[in-house]
């Protein structure tokens, strides 16, 4: 389900935009929406899945038990990162194939970069999910972190209102949110045939944020608890 749903949603969007007239000179609606979805879906899905999985590990006591074994904490996080990273890669591959080949989605830049950004976003989602799981006592609470952590990021990333048109204070908040950079990188890839310096900077920022989130998550994994 995790693998197919994004493809299905993109297909749904394709039909949604099918009868929308495109004015010359304006990027067509489907291309724009598809780009956003391709890049940000992994962030969304991976956050949800990791936060719940890790919360279950914490609550069921398996985490405590695992931490009595020789496993190191960073190994555990790396394992989580790679496992969900691979899942995200498969998901992104399927979605990209559907979008680029079947639905005629097109970017000025290389599809490879869209794929790369999707993976980086997925790792960011894993990092944020692992971190947030520490603050949730039940799976129910873990799900509620989704609107709290992810929704503002998506809103402020400039999907609905371009960031430059936001009030200053919102733009500032938007500047410190990793999803803003992820979206900017995607838009750069969508609009320019070459990989721009801005896109490279943005990808590095998102990777940095993912790393910080993973390290903070490591700090919440305690062998000893009260």
């Amino acid at each position: 389900m995790m693998l197919l749903v994004p493809s299905l949603i993109i297909t749904l969007m394709y039909f949604m935009f099918q009868n929308v007239p495109t004015r010359p000179g304006v990027p067509n609606g489907f291309n724009n929406a598809c780009l956003i979805l391709l890049g940000l879906f992994p962030l969304f899905v991976m956050f949800l899945i990791t936060s719940i999985t890790m919360q279950r590990e914490r609550a069921s006591g398996t985490l405590e038990r695992i931490l009595t074994t020789p496993l190191r904490r960073l190994d555990l996080l790396a394992a989580y990162g790679t496992a969900f990273g691979i899942a995200a890669a498969v998901q992104a591959t399927l979605t990209c194939i559907t979008a680029f080949w079947v639905l005629g989605f097109d970017t000025a830049g290389s599809p490879v970069w869209v794929f790369v950004i999707a993976i980086v976003n997925a790792v960011l989602g894993v990092g944020l999910g692992l971190l947030c799981s520490a603050f949730a006592r039940t799976e129910f609470q873990a799900v509620q972190f989704m609107p709290l952590v992810i929704a503002p990021q998506l809103l402020l990333a400039g999907i609905i209102v371009p960031r430059a048109l936001m009030p200053d204070w919102l733009e500032w908040i938007s500047n410190v949110m990793p999803a803003s950079y992820a979206l900017e990188a995607l838009q750069q890839v969508g609009a320019h045939p070459e990989l721009t310096a801005t896109a490279v900077r943005d990808i590095i920022v998102v990777m940095g944020c993912a790393l910080v989130a993973l390290c903070l998550a490591a700090a919440t994994l305690r062998r000893r608890t009260p």
Partner: protein, 254 residues
């Protein structure tokens, strides 16, 4: 009242596996373990007994090193409890069966085998040891309570530890299985493994070489079952335990 076979062995020069020195643990705002000191010798089966909420699990978690202790020290096999060299040598089975319900038994045990750096043969041996070979490909979510406990036990046995800390491993098991498991514990102890087994049913106490009796975070006695009967003059261990509790509350009222 401290006349246990463990003390006897230690006097004869057997090295202690667990040395607890003035351990104090506070959980929340309440003290869970008060100033507890005890030594446990290699190759013994020690039963940790007491009513629920008396600090058994807290003591066990202190020994495996997952409990933040307030004061005192816990030394296991010559290292501070929970330190890196111990993680391969101490098997711990928590009270709730901590296994993954969406995996099969064999996958659960293999997973823990991998964490301990063991191969799948060790996993098969552990499943065999708890008598689940017939169900090895069953999903853990579909198991009965007793089967889940045994699957969880297999995950602890798989590391072939020097010390096994088992938190209520026989809860919810039928008498035949309980006898089987205790037989296995005896076999393990004979091969030099030290076992610390908690229980809140006194009829299991007779199967242990030594007893640790706890109440309200205090250690009341570290004693052999026979000795406990002699000292209290009771034939049933249940009564003996009650009489010790009465004696301790009379000695220190409040």
């Amino acid at each position: 009242m401290m006349t246990s076979s463990s003390d006897e062995l230690l006097r004869r020069g057997v090295e202690p596996v667990i040395v607890i020195d003035h351990l104090r643990v506070i959980r929340g705002k309440r003290p869970a373990v008060h100033d507890l000191s005890v030594q446990i010798a290699r190759g013994t089966i020690t039963g940790l007994l007491g009513p629920s909420g008396c600090g058994k699990t807290t003591l066990m978690r202190s020994i495996v090193g997952t409990q933040i202790v307030t004061a005192g020290s816990v030394t296991v096999l010559g290292h501070p409890a929970g330190s890196a060299p111990l993680r391969r040598r101490v098997g711990y089975m928590p009270q709730d069966p901590t296994i993954y319900d969406d995996l099969r038994i064999v996958d659960n045990v293999r997973y823990f085998a991998t964490l301990y750096g063991m191969d799948s043969r060790a996993a098969d041996a552990a499943i065999d040891a708890v008598g689940l070979s017939d169900h090895r490909t069953a999903l853990c979510g579909n198991l009965s309570g007793g089967q889940r406990t045994r699957a969880s036990l297999a995950c602890a046995l798989v590391c072939q530890p020097d010390l096994l800390v088992l938190d209520e491993p026989t809860v919810g098991l039928d008498p035949v299985l309980r006898a089987d498991l205790w037989e296995q514990f005896n076999t393990l102890a004979k091969s030099g493994i030290t076992l610390l087994v908690s229980s809140h049913v006194m009829d299991e106490a007779d199967r242990c070489g030594d007893l640790l009796l706890m109440r309200d975070g205090h250690l009341l006695a570290h004693i052999t079952p026979d000795r406990l009967r002699e000292e209290t003059g009771c034939t049933s261990l249940e009564e003996a335990f009650l009489s010790i509790i009465r004696r301790s509350t009379a000695a220190a009222p409040g």
